[in-house]
Amino acid sequence: MSDTNQRIAEIVGSNDVVLFMKGTPLFPQCGFSSRAVAILDHCGVAYESVDVLQDMEVRQGIKAFSDWPTIPQLYVKGEFLGGSDIMMEMYEAGELQALLDEKAVARAE
């Protein structure tokens, strides 16, 4: 396992909900990342975000880690859930909220 892979695994493993995104929740730098942030905010969960624009290794490494070509990427309890399209589809179907409840992730303060 490469160092980058190891680092990503540690980030994903040590936070219940992690969003790898372009920019920050306050200042998203891409429409898809902005949409992902909005969905998580609507769900009212606490989450860690990683700005891949600040880290080229993670920006490339995360795509190999999940075998997924785009950013944002959402992880819940260590599991890759999908990008913003899947998040939106799950949110609209009520599945995302149900899954976050089921996994008992911490709520946003």
Partner: protein, 75 residues
């Protein structure tokens, strides 16, 4: 990428798939696609999306910057 190219690549990899494309910005670069394919049956959403990304042969996230994707199994 032109709509015809996107559709051709997806249907080549997923025979029988139906591809609906909407040009979001009028620039041939920002697309919304709904792909309905029998091959999606029984797969998770992540696996369904991966089939489409694989069909596009690594262009996703590169040449093809923005593709909003919805996948469906035919009724």
């Amino acid at each position: 990428m032109a709509a015809a190219d996107i559709t051709a690549m997806i249907t080549a990899a997923l025979p029988g798939a139906e591809v609906e494309l909407r040009d979001l910005a009028g620039d041939d670069d920002h697309w919304a696609a709904t792909v309905t394919a029998p091959q999606f049956a029984g797969l998770s959403r992540v696996a369904q999306h991966k089939l489409v990304y694989d069909a596009l042969g690594g262009r996703m996230g590169g040449v093809l910057h923005a593709l909003q994707l919805v996948t469906r199994v035919p009724n």
